[in-house]
């Protein structure tokens, strides 16, 4: 059974560009969350989606957006990239709305903005 898959694994972008990161949750999981992990810090919550609806949004600017598709996969989009957006972006899936279950994380996408 495949785990949470994220693509691409690594990405280099220039300031001002746009980026799209992709996530496929564990089969049967309907909830997907996105986190940003800057080097030396703990992951910070960006978005959570459940059944294609946004359930929560962290303290991130409007340059960050996301969506969830009918097959429960998800995309995270970041516009007008800044150097400070360089980070490991993690996707996590959970079996329900996340009520009492652990979250399974993907290996992440390492984004470098130059």
């Amino acid at each position: 059974d495949a785990g949470v898959t994220q693509s691409p694994t690594h990405l280099i972008k220039t300031r001002g560009q746009h980026v799209t990161l992709r996530c496929s949750p564990i089969s049967g999981h309907k909830s997907v969350s996105w986190y940003q992990q800057v080097l030396g810090q703990g992951p910070q919550f960006i978005f959570q989606y459940y059944e294609k609806e946004e359930r929560g949004r962290g303290n991130f600017p409007d340059r960050f957006s996301a969506r969830q598709f009918p097959n429960y996969s998800s995309e995270l989009n970041v516009n007008a990239l800044l150097l400070g957006d360089s980070a490991l972006y993690l996707c996590a899936s959970s079996g329900t709305g996340g009520e009492s279950h652990g979250y399974t994380f993907g290996s992440g996408t390492r984004l470098t903005v130059v």
């Binding site: 969350s33 986190y35 992951p43 910070q44």
Partner: protein, 117 residues
């Protein structure tokens, strides 16, 4: 607001010795607590969780954690450390259930565990 603190940036222990990685939390209501481990250039791997029940929770790879409500702590422990346990460890708390809550995880800053042969 919910928060998690990991007071030690790094913990050093000799192989074969017991290890403890500390975590304290601040939540309203009952806490849902988690420990994750991260190896270099990898995502987070789930170790264990406390939702309710016994205060001593057993998890993966021989790790366990003790929930202490009076001290608002959830320390990670292992009786005998291995060199392969060397990694970055994160404690996290989930928003308690309730109207409008998203179920997001709030992470501590992380503790680097170094196990020396």
């Amino acid at each position: 607001a919910q928060s998690v603190a990991q007071p030690e940036d790094q913990v050093n222990v000799a192989e074969g010795n017991p290890l403890t990685v500390k975590c304290t939390y601040s939540v309203s209501g009952n806490p849902y607590l988690f420990w994750y481990v991260q190896y270099p250039n990898r995502g987070l791997q789930f170790l264990l969780k406390y939702i309710t029940g016994d205060n001593l929770v057993k998890g993966s790879y021989g790790f366990e954690a003790e929930f202490n409500k009076s001290q608002t702590s959830f320390h990670l422990k292992k009786p005998s450390a291995l060199v392969s346990d060397s990694a970055l460890y994160f404690c996290a708390v989930r928003d308690s259930l309730g109207s409008g809550n998203t179920g997001k995880l709030i992470f501590g800053q992380g503790t680097t565990l170094q196990v020396k042969p």
